[in-house]
Subunit: 190 residues, 2 copies
DNA sequence: TTTTATTTAATACGTTTGTATTAAAATAAT
DNA sequence: ATTATTTTAATACAAACGTATTAAATAAAA
């Protein structure tokens, strides 16, 4: 009987407005009012979908991680050589121009979770662990590799490059980053 | 004629209180009042040393970068094999337990500078660039290495590991991290 | 001891904040 | 057309905020 509004869509819309505010003003500047304004909604409208500010912020930030995990995991379904798939998955963590905002939100999310000491699970990292274990079980990795260390090595390298890309330290393009990561994969693939 | 107070020392004391507040409550939670309370000073006292909140926060965050750069550059003076010096310098970026707060502040500083788009210079990165160039000029690196790429590679790897250490992804100890980095150095040293 | 510049403390003001409340508007079913 | 229920809008309020102002306390120099 009411005006029908797709709740999920509307929440996602508010979440994306939240991303913009966080990228522009930081997590501390992400007030319910400023988010409502960014989303072209009233204060009460936003409050209707999220009961508290914390709920809204956590939803918005979590969405970044979820979407990233989904994007990464999509690659696993493709029918390509295992090394190419792995490379594509890792490269998904290097944000192109139009996903810099998401990475900025991710950075704030890291700090936030660190402060709240709720840093146990990270679906992106767990996804990488899963894939690497599959590769190893399938006998695609050299016998002498220390899997635990290589997972740490690879994920740290790709995240470090992504971070330094944002910070302006990385002067090389995506193609050369890709080649750099491929060299690392060559080191451990049979 | 006045009560003599070492300005620099007092400012550093306030800055360190600021670190604790930022690590606990985030940059957005770092109000002048909460910092004064953390430093056991009055609101007016803090305001006496810093005219605005922004000035205080920037001073405190900048101090982290300065101290880190100083620590790194100290290693350059030691009389040890070049590879060992380089390794020691890079390992300085892996925060031990008692410097986790500084790294948390550094994380917030990154976000802050990104937002303000004042991300041009970073003394830590510039220090690493300097040292690597020196090594290369001294003929200590293999002729075929692409210096630009290796600098990006090394710094990204060490910063990625540091970040993932904070996030709880890194399950190996400092010694094994050190060995991992040393393997990378072996790849480029003659 | 008196003087004097520095340091601290106390208080106040105008904004912005999160959240609550309440009523109005909108629309699908009857 | 009426009804029922969801969605939106408007307003209010206490708390926390940055900053300014003013007076008090402090301690080295005279």
């Amino acid at each position: 009987m009411p005006k029908i509004v797709n709740h999920e869509e509307r929440k996602a819309l508010i979440a994306k407005a939240t991303w913009n505010v966080i990228a522009r003003d930081g997590l501390g500047g992400a007030s319910v009012r400023s988010i409502a304004k960014e989303a072209n909604l009233s204060l009460g409208a936003v409050r209707h979908y999220f009961n508290t500010q914390e709920e809204l912020l956590e939803f918005a930030m979590q969405l970044v991680e979820e979407q990233a995990t989904d994007r990464i995991m999509e690659h696993a379904k493709e029918s390509l050589p295992p090394k190419t798939i792995t490379l594509n998955m890792l490269m998904e963590l290097i944000p192109p121009e139009n996903r810099v905002v998401e990475m900025q939100v991710w950075l704030e999310y890291i700090s936030y979770k660190l402060r709240k000491k709720e840093l146990k699970e990270d679906s992106v990292h767990q996804g990488i662990v899963l894939i690497m274990n599959r590769l190893n079980d399938a006998g695609l990795l050299k016998a002498e590799v220390n899997l635990e260390e290589e997972i740490i090595h690879l994920h740290a390298l790709i995240d470090g490059i992504a971070l330094h890309l944002l910070m302006g330290f990385v002067t090389i393009g995506r193609d050369r980053i890709r080649a750099l990561i491929e060299r690392e994969l060559d080191r451990i693939f049979t």
